[in-house]
């Protein structure tokens, strides 16, 4: 978090839009003491570092480690990887606790006995990548627990890769291994047993190796930029000498009255800590004295984060199409689920609406049909009623007619009867008259 650049551009802060304002302090406040507080706390906590050494057997890895840390990490009781012949590549750890100047360092050395020693070395990097991934996995799980306590950092911070001093170039195994691991761990390639090459041969070899590394786009550990001019000069000097050619030794020899670590030959002594003889001092300074913290930081901020984001992306989208746009990754898996839930709620709402609509429509239809039937029924009923009424009327009419006819006839009959009666009476009268 570089504060000053923010100030000059007047960048707005995330806190309620307040400006980050540069203030000049009159008088001593005291927070310049913060670094000391950090120093004290870090010493109290102690430090951890995990270093991995990889290379074929016999390249001097154990000797180099012993020389680097000036201690018998590998000894007859704890033999180095080349002494532990394995049928297949193993990955083994040794933990040592070393103290210096009040600083405790828990150093873990991971070595790979059997690497590159078989006749068929296909996939011999697999146990190595598996080991590194499993350490990342452990850390990820520890970090993701609900109850997080102390999280020991056992991730591999640096991998020293030993290149055999053939003088020609990298072997296919070297290239393959580095390609597989450069995205998982900080790789520092070293030329082993540098005392088998003359300085010119070494120079040539280094150039060749760096060329091949660039060709294959292998990312070895890169030194961070600093603002300090002096430091940058030193870093540039180191970069010119990559990969570092090293010599290790377990024996101390007297040279010109001085006791030095070195290898005694009939023709002289190759001194380990002599800058003209090999790059050992550069390695030690860089690895331990100046860049150890940065190696840990890069592991934490780059390699581990890569692993984590890949792992979490896989978990979130397992089964689902993994070609998600970049902005999916800016969310946590939980936020992702939240969003999915919201989408689902919206989808359900829509579905509900649709189903409602269809339902309403169907009901309306049915009701309409019923209504129509009812109306039809009513009509028919009316019709039938009318029919019946007509029939009744007809019948009535008929009856009336009949009654009329009947009464007319009956009247006639009565009249006839009357007439007959009168006639018979008249006849009676006539008969009577005749008699007289």
């Amino acid at each position: 978090m570089s504060a000053s650049s923010d100030v000059l551009t007047g960048a707005a802060e995330a806190n309620g839009g307040a400006m980050g304002l540069q203030k000049n302090l009159e008088g001593y406040v005291g927070f310049a003491n913060l670094p000391n507080q950090v120093y004290r706390k870090s010493v109290k906590r102690g430090f951890e570092f995990t270093l991995m050494v990889v290379g074929e057997s016999g390249l001097g890895k154990s000797t180099l480690i012993n020389s680097l840390f000036l201690t018998d990490l590998y000894s007859p009781e704890y033999p180095g990887p080349s002494q532990r012949i394995k049928k297949t590549v193993q990955v083994e750890q040794s933990k040592v606790l070393i103290k210096e100047g009040g600083v405790h360092l828990l150093l873990t050395i991971v070595d790979t006995p059997g690497f590159g020693d078989a006749v068929d070395n296909s996939n011999c990097w697999q146990p190595v990548t598996d080991h590194i991934d499993s350490k990342f996995e452990d850390f990820l799980n520890a970090e993701s627990r609900v109850n997080r306590r102390l999280m020991p950092d056992s991730r591999v911070h640096c991998c020293l890769y030993f290149i055999a001093p053939s003088g020609h170039g990298l072997k296919p195994l070297d290239i393959e291994f580095m390609k597989r691991l450069h995205e998982k761990v900080n790789i520092i390639p070293l030329i082993a047993k540098a005392d088998t090459m003359t300085p010119e041969e070494c120079q040539q070899f280094k150039k060749q190796i760096m060329k091949e590394i660039h060709e294959h786009k292998i990312k070895i550990y890169d030194f961070p930029e600093t603002d300090d001019e002096e430091e940058m000069k030193m870093i540039r000097r180191i970069k010119d000498r990559l990969p570092l050619a090293v010599v290790g030794s377990n024996t101390i020899i007297e040279v010109n009255g001085k006791r030095v670590r070195g290898r005694q030959y009939p023709w002289g002594v190759a001194e380990v800590e002599n800058g003209d003889h090999c790059d050992f001092t550069i390695l030690r300074n860089m690895l331990i004295r100046t860049h150890m913290q940065d190696l840990k930081d890069v592991t934490n901020n780059v390699h581990y984060e890569n692993y984590r984001s890949r792992k979490l992306a896989a978990v979130t989208y397992n089964g689902v199409d993994n070609n998600n746009s970049k902005n999916q990754l800016t969310k946590s898996p939980l936020a992702q689920m939240e969003e999915e839930r919201r989408e689902h709620v919206a989808k359900m709402k829509k579905m509900e609406q649709e189903m409602e609509q269809v339902f309403e429509m169907k009901v309306k239809e049915k009701l309409q049909k019923l209504k129509d039937s009812e109306v039809e029924l009513q009509k028919r009923h009316e019709q039938m009623k009318k029919n019946l009424e007509a029939q009744y009327k007809e019948l009535e009419e008929k009856r009336r007619q009949y009654e009329e006819e009947k009464s007319t006839w009956e009247l006639q009959q009565r009249i006839l009867e009357q007439q007959k009666l009168e006639l018979s009476r008249t006849m009676e009268k006539g008969k009577k008259k005749k008699i007289f």
């Binding site: 978090m1 000053s4 100030v7 806190n15 309620g16 980050g20 304002l21 540069q22 203030k23 406040v29 005291g30 927070f31 913060l34 670094p35 507080q37 950090v38 870090s42 906590r45 430090f47 680097l68 840390f69 000036l70 201690t71 990490l73 704890y78 933990k95 606790l97 070393i98 103290k99 600083v103 360092l105 990820l140 993701s144 609900v146 109850n147 997080r148 306590r149 102390l150 999280m151 950092d153 331990i288 100046t290 940065d294 984001s309 792992k311 992306a313 969310k331 936020a335 689920m337 839930r341 359900m348 579905m351 339902f359 009901v363 019923l370 029924l377 009744y392 009949y402 009947k406 007959k420």
Partner: protein
């Protein structure tokens, strides 16, 4: 920011080895420090206290600078928090200081909810950090940490005891943030009153179970000074940005007719103690406590709320993958179930309505049948009547015919009679 602790070892064998010379890793703390210095530091102070109690003045005095501050009015509707960020530098150390002021605290008639905006603000900062930590692609080392590292609680110098608002607020805050209570405007209390006041306050805090920040005593370098300072809590402070000439020096002080209260004079007030503890000795510890204790507590509660557990029913530890997968399965199952429920509801609705409509149909049909029967009846009746009429007509016709046939014979008889 992984906390490494050498005391917690795995079961692997660790050997203690001695070094045959100077290796050089004793520079590790320096490497760490130089990295932190390059990154810059971040510190967030929350000042809680009534309007006019001297929060802004104290901040100005503490950091020897005039931060911009308008005086707040007493008529705020509620409490709101006003964060301001400043970039400070001292020798080569950059500090991004955020001061959060509580505006309107203690001014309302009803102060029941006064603590809420404060708690919400603190929780929001935790939440933001948690969200960043949970992202798939995250950049924690770049993240501007806004979590509150220290809450300075300003106690009014009544000389008697804590106000109930103070107790309530501090109780709500003590599990979320480091609290250092301070007695403001301490130049209005005499030494003896102050002594009694401090004792009263501390006993009230203890009896109410309020956890204030204790200066750490586990590091030998600072344990002595820290434990002696713990005994002086709460610090009685006086703030001032005005300078007064005392003797041949110019010091920050408050000028009264009866004398000059010097801010940096330890017999006048505890300002120097506060500055020492807060900034020079324990700033890093405050940051650490916030992250390791208060934030972890928040995070744990939040995750448990969301249903995360560390072990499954068989007490086997979950891996992250399993946890997320289980969560996801649960979540998808939940969604599925909701969908099913909705469908089911619809199916039921449809069934109901169908039954209803069928019922109506049946009724209609019945009605129809009824009417049909009625019509049939009527029709029959009509037919009957018709038949009746017909019968009558036939009978009449027969009768008529009979009579007419008879009458035809009769006139012959009459004629016959006439002839005779």
């Amino acid at each position: 920011m992984a906390a490494t602790d050498v005391d917690v070892f795995s079961n692997e064998e660790k050997r203690n080895l001695s070094l045959g010379g100077h290796v050089g890793f004793d520079s590790l703390p320096d490497q760490l420090v130089s990295k932190s210095v390059t990154q810059g530091f971040c510190f967030n102070i929350l000042c809680v206290g009534e309007t006019g109690i001297g929060k802004s003045t104290l901040m100005n005095t503490l950091f020897n600078t005039m931060f911009e501050n308008e005086e707040a009015s007493h008529y705020q509707n509620g409490v709101y928090l006003r964060p301001r960020t400043y970039d400070l530098q001292e020798s080569n150390v950059h500090l991004k200081l955020t001061i959060v002021d509580t505006v309107g605290f203690g001014d309302q008639i009803n102060k029941e909810d006064s603590y809420k905006p404060i708690v919400d603000y603190i929780d929001t900062q935790f939440e933001n950090y948690l969200q960043e930590e949970l992202k798939i692609k995250r950049s924690l080392f770049n993240y501007h940490d806004t979590r509150i590292h220290i809450c300075l609680y300003f106690i009014a110098p009544t000389g008697h005891s804590l106000k109930s608002l103070d107790l309530v607020t501090m109780k709500k805050l003590d599990s979320k943030v480091n609290i250092i209570p301070i007695i403001a405007k301490a130049d209005t209390i005499s030494k003896s009153e102050l002594h009694k006041f401090k004792i009263k306050i501390m006993s009230e805090l203890v009896s109410n179970g309020v956890q204030i920040y204790q200066f750490p005593t586990d590091d030998e370098a600072v344990s002595e000074i820290n434990s002696s300072m713990n005994a002086h809590l709460p610090f009685a402070v006086v703030g001032s940005v005005e300078e007064v000439k005392v003797g041949n020096k110019t010091v920050r002080a408050r000028q009264y007719p009866w004398g000059v209260v010097q801010v940096e004079n330890e017999s006048h007030c505890d300002f120097v103690k506060l500055r020492e503890m807060l900034i020079r000795v324990n700033m890093e510890d405050l940051r650490e406590q916030t992250h390791a204790r208060h934030y972890e507590l928040y995070r744990r509660c939040k995750l448990e709320e969301m249903g995360f557990k560390d072990t499954d029913p068989d007490s086997q530890p979950f891996s992250l993958q399993e946890t997320y997968e289980a969560k996801r399965k649960e979540f998808l199952g939940d969604l599925q179930r909701k969908e099913e429920e909705m469908r089911q509801m619809f199916v039921n609705k449809v069934k109901e309505t169908e039954a209803e409509l069928k019922e109506r149909e049946r009724e209609l049909h019945e009605k129809f049948e009824q009417l049909k029967r009625m019509h049939q009846d009527e029709k029959r009746k009509v037919e009957e009547k018709r038949k009746e009429l017909e019968d009558e007509m036939n009978a009449f016709n027969r009768k008529k015919l009979a009579v007419e046939t008879l009458s035809l014979n009769q006139p012959l008889k009459k004629d016959k009679d006439k002839k005779n």
